[in-house]
């Protein structure tokens, strides 16, 4: 069993981003970067499968600039065996990323691909499903539980209103939801060890895939601000306001 874990370098989730003053994009100057939280959950799930003796090898892969090596090293420190950077300065869209990942899937032939349900920058929630279409693999998105027994994969998914369980054939794609697991922190010895694990760099152009963007960002702005209202002193005053001012209760 070989597991491929595609990850993404994003703005740290604690950072409150702002548009650039000229509205051409988000201001990423001097902003702390990190592995996308859903990707951390994906790495953790792969590592747990390996620790349970159900997988032999975990390959972390990312599409991005040279700086993304940092997040690949994090994945290696968390337990991935080797890493691949598909290097490009193009800010590829999920469709382009899926096409590049498809090339890696063709080379590596993983049995299972685990990735985050969405990246917290673009909030697109597309890559796993698109890779499913391009590979023809089965998919189970928004996983909160993954059970792998031999060739049989059972996944519980978080759906609107509850949970759904699917049995899916391998090779398969699983995207992670929040409650799948709680990712570990990398230990210092493992961080040191990660430095000597293999990290291959493949220029995206070598994969011969068209990743030119189809979406042009016209502008990035702040959402409409909501004005702060009033502080009421008592429950009685609150009820009065809701009844007589806002008229939302009767």
């Amino acid at each position: 069993m070989k597991i491929l874990v595609p990850i993404k370098r994003v703005v740290d989730y604690n950072v409150k981003v702002r548009p650039k003053s000229d509205e051409t994009g988000v201001d990423l100057n001097n902003v702390k970067m990190a592995m996308n939280p859903f990707c951390e959950i994906a790495v953790e799930e792969a590592v747990r499968l390996k620790e349970a003796g159900k997988a032999e090898e975990i390959i972390a892969v990312t599409i991005g600039a040279s700086s993304s090596q940092e997040q690949l090293r994090t994945a290696l420190a968390l337990g991935a065996d080797r890493a691949i950077l598909v290097e490009t300065e193009v800010e590829a869209e999920p469709l382009g990323i899926s096409k590049l990942l498809k090339s890696i899937v063709d080379k590596e032939s993983p049995d299972l691909i685990i990735l985050g349900k969405q990246a917290i920058d673009g909030d697109n929630n597309q890559t796993g499903q698109m890779l499913g279409a391009l590979t023809g693999f089965s998919q189970a998105t928004f996983a909160s539980e993954v059970n792998l027994e031999g060739d049989s994969l059972s996944v519980t998914r978080e759906i609107d209103g509850g949970l759904q369980t699917l049995d899916i054939n391998l090779p398969a794609i699983v995207t992670t939801d929040l409650r799948l697991n709680e990712p570990r922190y990398a230990s210092l010895p493992n961080i040191m060890k990660a430095k000597s694990k293999p990290l291959d760099i493949i220029p995206a152009v070598d994969l011969g895939v068209d990743i030119s963007p189809r979406l042009e960002t016209i502008k990035v702005t702040l959402p409409a601000e909501r004005e702060a209202g009033v502080i009421v002193e008592t429950v009685d005053e609150l009820i009065d306001k809701l009844k007589n001012e806002a008229k939302v209760i009767s």
Partner: protein, 309 residues
């Protein structure tokens, strides 16, 4: 030019979010078709035919579509997509599951979770948990879109008289199998459809204390929600979660109880018409978006509110 709306339903009834998606579709094109893919779901097609603005309803029934497996539904939508310039679905777990698969099959870059339409190729969508709004222009000839339902009004569920056309397009990839579904049973309205929502956060301290919210919810006919902090702490299941990683809601009245107001929670509820915050920490960010704030211990304020409301 025609738009196709991939309907959300449970084989018995049309989900209201479909109506918001129809409104978005009508904003792009006057000729709107609704796809009802499922099993033994002709009643849903009849319901869809009455939706105001629907020109045609496409009905396809098969065991392969009963549980909306992404592999099968995506192939279906892709195979019938030739006639359509726009394909839209609500940003529900089903829509999110299926539509990118359709987009990749069609070699289209999907536009996720649109919150406004500027023109037939330009859309607004929230990014970074709603901290920024991106305006994007698509160069794809076909537009594949998921729609943030709270940003569009619901189309009228009645008044239409669309023709129902039955399709025989059956695809069963046979690579995934539905096992079971556990849908929380509740007499309360669904979060995304409720007029009033009362949500608890970390300040609730534990899951049992959520019962404090139930009495008020019963009186107001409200749905009960929660912040991610409450879900992460194990107080309530994840399907209660309101926020960027949970449900996006916009009720007439949203009551946040013991919720500090993390960015990711605000992203899920700040379009509510009236927001009430009850929190003992007067510096909690939730007060910055609340129309009415009450700085109080929720364990005292909530019973009082319940008895007086």
């Amino acid at each position: 030019m025609t738009a196709l709306v991939v309907a959300e339903h449970n084989n018995q009834e049309l989900k209201p979010v479909t109506l918001n998606t129809v409104t978005a579709a009508l904003g792009l094109d006057q000729d709107v078709h609704i796809l009802i893919a499922g099993n033994a779901c002709s009643a849903v097609a009849e319901e869809a035919a009455k939706v105001s603005g629907a020109a045609k309803v496409l009905l396809v029934e098969s065991g392969a579509y009963e549980n909306f497996l992404a592999e099968n539904i995506a192939t279906l939508v892709s195979n019938i997509s030739g006639d359509y310039d726009f394909i839209l679905a609500p940003t529900t777990t089903n829509g999110k599951n299926v539509m990118p698969r359709v987009a990749a099959l069609q070699d289209v870059s999907q536009i996720s979770d649109i919150s406004a339409i500027e023109s037939s190729d330009t859309f607004q969508r929230p990014i970074y948990a709603g901290n920024c709004i991106a305006t994007v222009k698509s160069s794809d000839s076909k537009k594949i879109i998921t729609v943030r339902n709270t940003a569009f009004d619901a189309a009228d569920a009645t008044g239409g008289s669309a023709e129902i056309i039955t399709l025989e397009e059956i695809n069963d990839a046979g690579i995934s199998k539905f096992v079971k579904e556990e849908i929380a049973e509740s007499d309360r309205p669904e979060l995304t459809a409720a007029d009033v929502i009362i949500s608890g956060g970390r300040g609730m301290q534990n899951g049992d204390n959520f019962s404090i919210l139930e009495g008020i919810a019963d009186k107001l006919g409200a749905a009960i929600g929660a912040s991610r902090a409450a879900v992460d702490s194990g107080f309530v299941p994840n399907d209660y979660q309101v926020g960027q990683t949970g449900k996006i809601v916009a009720p007439d009245l949203y009551i946040a109880v013991g919720i500090s107001g993390a960015i990711q929670h605000l992203a899920g509820m700040k379009d509510s018409k009236v927001i009430v915050a009850i929190n003992k920490d007067e510096d909690a960010p939730i007060f910055q978006v609340a129309d009415y704030g009450l700085v109080a211990d929720l364990f005292e304020a909530m019973p009082e509110l319940e008895s007086k409301i």
